[in-house]
Amino acid sequence: MIQLKKIYKYYNTGSKKAYVLSDVSLDIAEGEFVSIMGPSGSGKSTLLHILGLLEEANEGEYLFLGENVSKLTEKKRTELHRNQIGFVFQAYHLIDELTVYENIETPLLYKGLNSSERKSRVAELLDKFNIVGRKDLFPSQLSGGQQQLVGIARAIAGNPKVIFADEPTGNLHSDQATEIMELFKKLNEQEKVTIVQVTHSEHNATYGNRVIRLKDGLIQR
């Protein structure tokens, strides 16, 4: 479902280009659970952002579900974010002014679901993630692990085909991390959601079925 062909990404620092990604080509099939690994500064986040349509590559071609998305209108990109793509951040970013319930509900609002549809979907997710009791709390009242659960719940609320997760367990204790990984695995296996995660932990990488290693913006074979 995802095809990258000769992707380059660079920043203009002063006079010369600083390449963050060079000649990155890669295929990810539907239903895969892929882990991206590599040292700090190797371009993992950048790659994930490009995959998640948050950044554009300078060169190369990106096909998403067979469609060329290298250059997209804002409307089309929003459309993909609403329906196909879920994003989970390392710093479990949540909207501080919204409750757990409302945070999970946000993508559904933008998707245009009516109130009863939203209610049942959010209820389903709260239930699945075991956070029904905390639905009216604000992010600041939750632990890191709990916040990340909410982040994931929000990412999958819109039933995306693929989830991109940038170090989802980076700031968590190992047992919290395990819980998240188990959850990803379950999503991948039971609901056939494609998952691409960036991780530093070899252990976490074992939950997936493929590892892509990045070094200085190049894929290691």
Binding site: E55, K75, T78, N83, H93, I95, D96, L98, T106, L109
Partner: protein
């Protein structure tokens, strides 16, 4: 979705209380000023809305052409008939003739009021209705009078007014203005033929009575006033109203009027005029025009008020914009998350606009409360006793208020919303926010400088206006304005009897008479000629006084003597002139001028004396050539010099004496110094209004500054703590936090000072005696501005500087 926006807006607002408060209070304060102006505008626009034909009614104005640039709301008397007879498409015309107003006497009762000569056609055009009598015939016969219910009640109480005969003594009472008149002419016995219903709204024709038009020729026969039904040259005393047929247009009417004017005032004829159609709804608020029938808010003043109101409103909007953009970074994460969750740019924009509108609506609630207070203050102003703005809030007006608040929210929120909507979600994820910060900072600086400029211009202008007002209030007129009581005379024999009767009272230093009060705004003009060299002529102002005037007013006689005690009854013999007149006619010295012969209004007169220049025009105008004349029949006021002790007893004595010797005339008096102050009341009002607005402007920009300073201090709390830990002193930190503002202030001063100098010199040109925009005023204003700003910024810097570093260095 809206619900969600609303929820997050409320939570953000309650979470950041200081910012919300600054924004809401700032917006509310300036909004209340704007609401006041909207209210005034609505009041003015409510005039004459009760006429069923209001969209088809026009008044004909007259503009002088070819050198004469007079503009008057009146027009020639024959015009109405001409239009009615010769032009199709005109359903009805009506004439209203001025110059009836005074006392109506019935048995022992008296009532007074002003109005017009009119015929029944007026009732076919406008919805003035009779509650008693027949509108079709009431104004048919000579000496018929239609009066308001109020007057009917005063005169006849519960008796039926129709058919009653009343004595009418004209006193020059004006139906629409404050003039009270001072001369009396007996118009004769009138028969009451109708009673006017109270009008259901405000009108530009606030008359208290209507006399039949057919009375005019009769009064003219008796030489009680001048009237010629075919006089196209007199465009000053008659008003022409036109009701167009439904299919006709204003342009058509104007074409008809052009044709009439071209016919009646051909090229080469003496005075030439053109007629202008004015729709009923263009009458109020008023444009500057002579012979207006009512006092209303001048359009220019409304415009200036609106501009000032808008500047202040804009300043408050800038606060919102500025603070929101400054705090954009704290909202960046939210925006990024929403975009990743599928929000479009438009949706993010809508959310932030909604937030701004919510703030604006919250401000509106507060503003409506403040409006109540402002309305009370405005009603207390001197000028409102004439324009009588009523501050009633109707539902439509409240809807306008809400629409206004929404608009303001939109304007205030526009820039931040565009800004937020354009946020790339990745910026915040990567924490590379610093990159974009620089651009935002320059925007913020521009906004702050703009605000500083506005404040400073307001402060300087207020200071200049204050100085100018003070200058005028303490003006040296060249005569002694203290302790002079003026009494309206109405008739010459009233004066003679009164003067004799009060003589001998030890608190009365003298009594004199004059045609009207010098320096209070009225003046007459004529052209005088040297008798021996009739080529030498000049325009002079004149008024009539008696022999004792110079004494009572403490004028300084430079040469010659005053008028003879008993003026020659056969005609005008002497005049007294001022220094400027002597200079203009090149007599050399005052002594040389005495005895010179002058031709005035066809009479040869001799200069009896020369007085030192004194201010006889209103203070906005420089002194001009003046001739004092001595025609007793022109006298309108007695001037009584009182001692200044036992003033109330003296006034009581004057009133008692007046009533005894002149039982048929009202005793009306005023103090000269108060009358003179009255002429400046408008200026004082303007000073008050501007002073208030400028206070608002300064307050609002201080709010903005406070917000920025608070924000800066907060965001830099960590930096400050680290600096303190490594040994920065408190003063060093204060300098660090304040120096950015000092720079901006300096830029603002460089822009605002020359600009204020220019602006203020512009309006000062309207005053003959004016203060200069001195370095002192400028310096004082700048210092004041600096002080206010420094206190604001320092309050926050100090708080930050003295904070305990441990508090802000706790891990996030």
């Amino acid at each position: 979705m809206i619900k969600n926006y609303f929820k997050i807006a409320i939570r953000t607002l309650t979470k950041n209380k200081a910012f919300s408060l600054i924004n809401i209070v700032g917006l509310a304060v300036s909004m209340s000023v704007c609401l006041l102006i909207i209210n005034i505008y609505a009041d003015q626009k409510s005039y004459d809305q009760f006429h069923g034909n209001k969209d088809r009614i026009y008044r004909v104005l007259t503009y002088g052409i070819g050198g004469d640039n007079s503009k008057t709301a009146s027009s020639a008397f024959p015009l109405a008939k001409k239009l009615q007879q010769d032009y199709p498409g005109i359903e009805q015309t009506a004439s209203l003739v001025r110059n009836i107003g005074g006392d109506m006497l019935y048995k022992e009762k008296a009532a007074s009021g002003g109005g017009y000569f009119a015929d029944g056609q007026l009732f076919k055009i406008m919805d003035f209705k009779l509650s008693k009598g027949d509108a079709a015939t009431a104004l048919q016969n000579p000496y018929s009078l239609v009066i308001t219910e109020e007057i009917a009640k005063e005169l006849f109480n519960n008796e039926d007014p129709i058919g009653k005969a009343v004595q009418f003594n004209d006193k020059g009472v004006n139906p629409g203005g404050p003039e009270k008149g001072n001369k009396e002419t007996a118009f004769g016995i009138f028969t009451i033929t109708g009673v006017l219903q109270n009008v259901p709204g405000k009108t530009h024709l606030p008359f208290k009575l209507l006399a039949s038009l057919s009375t005019l020729p009769a009064l003219a026969n008796e030489k009680k006033l001048g009237f010629d039904a075919n006089d196209w040259g007199n465009v000053w005393t008659n008003y022409t109203y036109v009701l167009l047929e439904k299919t006709n247009t204003k342009a058509n009417l104007q074409a008809d009027l052009n044709q009439v004017a071209a016919m009646q005032y051909p090229k080469g004829s003496g005075s030439r005029f053109v007629f202008k159609a004015q729709a009923l709804n263009e009458i109020t608020p008023s444009n500057p025009i002579g012979n207006e029938t009512h006092l209303s808010m001048p359009v220019v003043m409304l415009l200036i008020l609106s501009i000032l109101g808008m500047i202040i409103m804009f300043s408050a909007c800038l606060n919102y914009t500025n603070l929101s953009v400054a705090r954009a970074l704290t909202r960046a994460k939210e925006v990024g998350l929403r975009k990743v969750a599928g929000a479009t740019r438009a949706q993010v924009f809508a959310q932030f606009i909604c937030e701004a509108i919510i703030v604006s609506l919250a401000a509106l609630v507060l503003a409506v409360v403040m409006l109540k207070l402002l309305a009370i203050a405005f009603t207390g102003l001197w000028l409102n006793q004439f324009i009588n703005i009523s501050f009633q809030q109707s539902l439509p007006l409240l809807l306008v208020f809400v629409a206004f608040a929404v608009l303001i929210g939109f304007i205030a929120g526009l820039l931040p919303s565009i800004y937020m909507a354009a946020f790339n979600p990745i910026v915040m994820m990567k924490n590379f926010g610093g990159l974009k910060l620089f651009k935002r900072l320059t925007l913020r600086k521009v906004l702050l400088v703009t605000q500083f400029c506005v404040s400073l211009i307001f402060i300087i202008s207020t200071a200049v206006l204050y100085q100018q007002t003070k200058r005028i209030l303490n003006f040296d007129y060249g005569f002694d304005k203290k302790n002079i009581v003026d009494v309206s005379l109405y008739k010459l024999d009233n004066y003679q009897r009164f003067a004799q009767a009060i003589e001998g009272n030890k608190d009365i230093g003298g009594i004199s008479a004059c045609s009207f009060m010098p320096a209070t705004g009225s003046n007459n003009g004529t052209r005088i000629f040297k008798v021996e060299r009739s080529k030498d002529s000049m325009d002079v102002s004149f008024f009539d006084v008696d022999a004792k005037f110079i004494d009572v007013w403490s004028l300084k006689l430079l040469a010659g003597k005053t008028f003879p005690e008993m003026p020659d009854t056969s005609g005008e013999r002497y005049i007294i002139v001022n220094e400027t007149m002597v200079r203009r006619f090149n007599y050399g010295t005052p002594i040389a001028a005495v005895g010179q012969k002058i031709l005035i209004d066809g009479n040869t007169v001799e200069i009896a004396g020369v007085v030192k220049d004194f201010q006889f025009l209103d203070v906005s105008r420089p002194i001009e050539a003046l001739v004092l004349r001595n025609r007793p029949k022109e006298f309108g006021y007695a001037n009584i010099k009182v001692s200044g002790h036992h003033t109330s007893e003296t006034i009581a004595f004057l009133e008692k004496t007046w009533k005894k010797v002149n039982p048929n005339a009202k005793f009306e008096y005023s103090f000269l110094d108060e009358q003179l102050l009255m002429t400046h009341s408008f200026l004082v009002d303007v000073a008050k209004i501007l002073g208030f607005l400028s206070l608002m402007a300064v307050l609002i920009s201080s709010f903005g500054l406070l917000g920025m300073a608070t924000y800066t201090a907060e965001t830099r709390a960590k930096e400050i703590s680290i600096r303190k830990v490594v040994g920065s002193s408190v003063p060093q930190i204060i300098v660090l936090l304040s120096k950015g503002y000092a720079q901006l202030l300096l830029i603002a001063i460089i822009i605002a000072v020359p600009l204020s100098w220019y602006l203020n010199n512009m309006w000062l040109q309207f005053f003959a005696y004016r203060v200069s925009v001195s370095a002192g005023i400028l310096l004082m204003s700048v210092v004041m501005m600096l002080l206010i700003s420094m206190v604001t910024v320092l309050s926050q810097s100090l708080r930050a500087a003295f904070s305990n570093p441990v508090d802000s260095l706790k891990p996030d």
